[in-house]
């Protein structure tokens, strides 16, 4: 870790102002990715702006539009929220599959989507449910938000304040955890809406993405069997010591079937 300044922001406005003013400041939410990166000197910000003291960023609210989850709501809070679990269980299930208890106690929803780790769980759920990412400046659909490897649509001085998840008819998230990290080696979120089916995949590629042929197949028949005969190409999938691209491609199919089964359960 190198020297940096620390600033504890009092409000979203305060944090955003500070962020815009500094050339090389970074926002600190749960710090579960950022702090290890600082320790390894992979990130060298001039200042950390701590969002931990901003009450308006915390909490889960349900409305007719869906579930509004504040950016600094921790995974354990999401997993433990009874109303949310009744309304959209897939979000709670994904939250409780993240990392380990220590990570779930510190890590936040906003931190996860803003970081857009290619193997994180929340991006799959956000994209699968067609969530809206709300920032201090605008609303961004998940389809536009997750741009690429660790890359999002967030602009300079922009920060995630809330994520709005619409209510699906049913949804499931099946995750094959990396045995070492428990990130998703492959995770598939399947959600059925009146308007159609969405299938989002994390862990397999450079960034979370949708599987359109799976969506089409499930729109006709929302069942695991509907996916029989569909295969996933290994081209452009991640290939590392934990899983070859072919194995990941195979797992996408398996996890998609299991996600459908969970949605139907």
């Amino acid at each position: 870790m190198r020297e940096f300044d620390y600033y504890r922001a009092g409000s979203v406005r305060d944090a955003a102002k500070r962020l815009a003013a500094s050339g090389n400041a970074m926002l600190l939410a749960g710090g579960m990715t950022l702090l290890p990166a600082l320790k390894m000197r992979l990130n060298e910000p001039s200042e950390l702006i701590d969002l931990g003291g901003i009450d308006e960023l915390k909490g889960v609210k349900l409305s007719r539009k869906g579930a509004h989850i504040g950016a600094t709501t921790t995974h354990v809070e999401v997993a433990g929220n009874v109303e949310l679990r009744a309304a959209i269980p897939v979000i709670s299930q994904a939250a409780e599959s993240i990392g380990d208890p220590q990570v779930r106690n510190r890590g936040t929803l906003g931190g996860s989507v803003a970081n857009n780790d290619p193997a994180a769980d929340y991006p799959a759920v956000a994209l699968g449910l067609g969530a809206t990412i709300i920032t201090n400046k605008r609303k961004i659909s998940a389809d536009s938000f997750f741009v690429g490897l660790f890359e999002t649509a967030l602009g300079t001085g922009e920060m995630v304040t809330e994520v709005l998840f619409p209510l699906p008819q049913r949804a499931g998230y099946a995750k094959f955890p990396n045995p070492a990290t428990r990130y998703a080696l492959v995770g598939v979120c399947v959600a059925q809406f009146k308007s159609g089916v969405r299938v989002a995949v994390t862990g397999a590629g450079p960034s979370v993405y949708r599987l359109e042929d799976f969506e089409e197949a499930l729109e006709g028949d929302f069942s695991s069997d509907a996916l029989d005969g569909l295969s996933v190409s290994a081209a452009n999938l991640n290939d590392d010591m934990h899983a070859s691209a072919e194995y990941r491609a195979h797992l996408v199919g398996v996890m998609a079937r299991r996600a459908v089964a969970m949605a139907l359960d």
């Binding site: 094959f176 045995p179 990290t181 899983a243 194995y247 195979h250 797992l251 398996v254």
Partner: protein, 798 residues
């Protein structure tokens, strides 16, 4: 009198109160006035010439005291890191032991090789400055696998080691057994069946919970050096510092290993970092501290295993083993670590008989240099590698012959009436009852009900497999003379001092070191049991050469068998002296005094004196036989065992495989061990659990991997997969007991058993599950990816 905490009691651990309440005192908790910090500049290249080191910019940075290099080390005549065990090749030549300087002497040979050290007022300043040290490297070709390093044209890592060969070793050597090789070959030729396997024993990173740390404090006024270090054997570190590297007189050096958070072998050795902080402290006259980051532990702690083995087992028509031939390539890494050459040879070859009466055994081992972190002893050290190949090939034989794995083992076991049993590879096994252990494990496993469980698994879409292993290991290192004949360059006895205080409270100074093994509890139980003093009135002191007379430390499951035995001998001396004092006090002959339950009693009478009163008399000798006896009550014993001890045990593992994903789940794990006599069954169970977790980790998860050139791929927990609690089943453990006759406690040792017996049991179970799909072979670790590919390959007929 013992407070119910004598031998055999599941006494709660005395250590736990301080560990659980955060009152442990580890090396990094110790801070000294004017202390400075060391940060190492390490090679980013697996193999390179160091053309120049420019520290100019670093030295100008705030807080920086010094930047030291290999040239400074050489100028101060600091010796190379020593090799503590010499190995002899087939042709009689000694193993190549290239110098291992603590800071590179012009060439680096692995990623992480220390090149320079920065000493600064803060850790951050030292680290910042280390990044500013400008090292000019000229990269060389490099190689990480031992097999590739042996190929013609492979990069040469040490000039003295042609073909990167450190040694070419055979067991037994032809001088000791002229016919072993020929007889083994003949038996293989004449066999009814020969089963052969090529096996990889995967390289592991030890991953003690506490990273290594060293704090050296040289006092220029007294010339005294105190080193606080994460060591399993502080006296050994002092011995090597004084004789091989710093070359200081021993009375001027004190080594303290305070609370240490795990070792598993990785904290045995005399490492570069502890030497450098001692040297830097002596040079600069200030205390110098180094604490490893986890990333440094991955690069710098000696790693384990990394064998490539071809094994052939010959059987007669009745499935009796007639010969075993083993050919192993062992990856030693870039230098010979302290015991690096001994682990794949003398800790390995002599165990190749396993628990079977195989008459002909012959093994060769080639030790090979590569551009990787040096390997050395890791929990089990040579015995897991031996056990793995034996138990894999025995199971393979059972599968090929269509026999029950239990039956083929039964047919070949050494029988209880054959002990002590002289194995054909040089060990004299002490005791054992292998069928008894096998039956116990089978009973707990519910062996007969497996087919039913397999059907139930199938109904859930899972393939079920069962695997068995039967290990034996040599513990309690070692008879010093035997070890000396095998190349050891130090003795392997153990030492205990029992100090009885005037009040009757007892302190024990033991040369063993507890870094998770619970000696403070179990050794106190022995004292409590033998002297009849309350458990709470006993304190075990360890880990400080300033307090403990001498000792060889803790590894090879030796602490109880050797250190506990030294303690028993010292306690016997205390009782003997106490008997004479009591005889005086009771006005009786010493020969008439009995000692039990803390009372010295005139035999056949009610005249008695308590142990505490005898102690008081020894220190306040108003009524005392001063003409015959010195006052005081303190005794020291050295114990050098006549033989190793040989724990053994049967493990049965049942797994379920999800063929869709390749995930292996352990559904049942039974460990039936024979550790001889047990002091504290709870502590033993804990040791077994820990060993099993590491053994299962090796079988299913852990794998230290390098690129072919030698860049470490698994440099953090993001890639190196450690087992977690929820990866493991609830273990079913049980023990049987055949005491060893070779030490007064009858104890064999239990620290490494789980890590030795578990890997083959798990892998045999995985293969048992997958054989119906046509899978014939899979190497450790059987990760989901590896299992899925094995299934795919079998399905496509590859």
């Amino acid at each position: 009198m013992s407070g119910g905490m004598g031998i055999g009691a599941a006494a709660p651990r005395s250590e736990d109160r301080r560990f659980i309440t955060g009152r442990g005192r580890y090396v990094d908790d110790i801070n000294l006035r004017s202390q400075q910090y060391a940060w190492f500049v390490r090679s980013p290249h697996p193999h390179a010439e160091v053309r120049s080191i420019d520290a100019g910019q670093a030295l100008e940075m705030p807080g920086v005291t010094a930047v030291l290099t290999g040239a400074d080390l050489e100028a101060d005549e600091v010796g190379s890191l020593p090799v503590a065990w010499g190995i002899t090749s087939v042709d009689g030549s000694p193993a190549v032991e290239p110098g291992f300087p603590a800071l590179a002497d012009g060439r680096v040979r692995y990623v992480g090789n220390p090149v320079a050290v920065v000493i600064a007022e803060t850790r951050a300043a030292a680290r910042d400055a280390a990044e500013a040290v400008n090292v000019h490297y000229e990269e060389l070709d490099s190689v990480s696998s031992a097999a590739a390093a042996m190929e013609e044209g492979a990069p040469q890592i040490h000039e003295a080691a042609e073909g990167n060969l450190c040694f070419n070793w055979e067991w037994l050597p032809s001088a000791m057994a002229p016919d072993a090789k020929a007889n083994t070959e003949k038996a293989l030729k004449e066999a009814a069946h020969v089963v052969s396997l090529e096996l990889v024993n995967n390289r592991l990173v030890p991953n003690a919970m506490e990273p290594r740390a060293s704090l050296a404090d040289f006092n220029p006024a007294t010339g005294q050096l105190t080193l606080y270090t994460t060591s399993q054997n502080p006296h050994v570190n002092r011995l090597l510092l004084c004789t091989a590297t710093l070359k200081m007189p021993e009375h001027k050096v004190r080594v303290v290993a305070p609370d240490v958070g795990g070792g598993f072998g990785s904290k045995i050795y005399h490492y570069a970092e502890e030497l450098v902080v001692c040297w830097a402290s002596r040079r600069l006259g200030v205390p110098v501290k180094w604490t490893a980051e986890r990333s440094e532990s991955f690069l710098g702690d000696a790693q384990g295993r990394d064998h490539l083995t071809r094994v052939e087992l010959a059987l007669d028509a009745e499935a009796r083993f007639t010969a075993l031939r083993v050919d192993t390539i062992a990856n030693l890494g870039s230098y010979v670590s302290t015991f690096g050459a001994a682990v794949p040879t003398v800790f390995y070859g002599p165990l190749l008989a396993g628990v079977y009466k195989t008459p002909n055994i012959y093994a060769t081992v080639k030790g090979v240099f590569t551009n990787t972190t040096p390997t050395d002893a890791y929990r089990g050290a040579g015995r897991p590698e031996a056990c793995y190949l034996i138990e894999r090939v025995v199971d393979e034989a059972a599968a090929q012959l269509g026999m029950d794995p239990a039956e083929i083992r039964r047919r070949n076991f050494i029988q209880p009436d054959e002990f002590p049993y002289q194995s054909p590879v040089g060990q004299l096994y002490d005791s054992g009852e292998f069928e008894g252990c096998l039956d116990l494990a089978m009973e707990i496993n519910g062996y007969a009900g497996f087919d039913e469980r397999r059907k139930q698994s199938e109904a859930r879409g899972r393939l079920r497999g069962r695997g068995m292993s039967f290990y034996i290991e040599a513990c309690g290192a070692a008879p010093s003379q035997a070890a000396g004949q095998l190349g050891a360059r130090a003795g392997l006895y153990e030492v205990a001092t029992v100090r009885v205080h005037p009040t009757g409270a007892v302190q024990v100074m033991t040369g063993t070191h507890s870094h998770g093994q619970s000696h403070e509890t179990t050794f106190a139980q022995i004292v409590s049991d033998r002297l009849g003093v309350d458990f709470a009135n006993v304190e075990i002191v360890h880990g400080d050469t300033g307090e403990v007379p001498f000792g060889m430390g803790t590894y090879a499951s030796r602490s109880l068998a050797v250190g506990g035995s030294a303690l028993v001998k010292a306690l016997d001396k205390v009782v003997e002296k106490g008997r004479k004092i009591a005889a005086h006090l009771l006005e009786a002959a010493a020969g008439d005094i009995e000692f039990s339950d803390g009372q010295f009693r005139v035999a056949g009478t009610d005249r008695q004196v308590a142990f505490g009163d005898v102690a008081l008399a020894a220190y306040v000798p108003h009524n005392y036989p001063l003409q015959e006896l010195e006052p005081g009550l303190e005794e020291t014993s050295f114990f050098d065992p006549e033989n190793f001890t040989f724990p053994s045990g049967c493990y049965i593992c049942e797994v379920e495989v999800d063929t869709e994903t390749g995930v292996v789940e352990i559904r049942d794990f039974v460990a039936a061990d024979d550790f001889g006599n047990i002091i504290n069954p709870m502590v033993v169970e804990g040791q077994v659990h820990g060993g099993l977790a590491q053994g299962i980790g090796q079988a299913l998860m852990e794998h230290c991997r390098y690129t072919p050139e030698g860049q470490l791929l698994t440099g953090s927990y993001m890639d190196y997969c450690m087992p977690r609690a929820d990866d493991l089943p609830s273990f079913k453990v049980a023990t049987r007991c055949t005491p060893t006759p070779f030490n007064p406690l009858g104890a064999k040792g239990c620290g490494e058993a789980g890590a030795i017996g578990a890997p083959p049991a798990v892998m045999n179970a995985v293969l048992d599950a997958l054989r119906p799909l046509g899978v014939k072979h899979i190497d450790m670790p059987a990760t989901p990816n590896a299992v899925w590919w094995a299934i795919e390959a079998a399905r496509s007929g590859e």
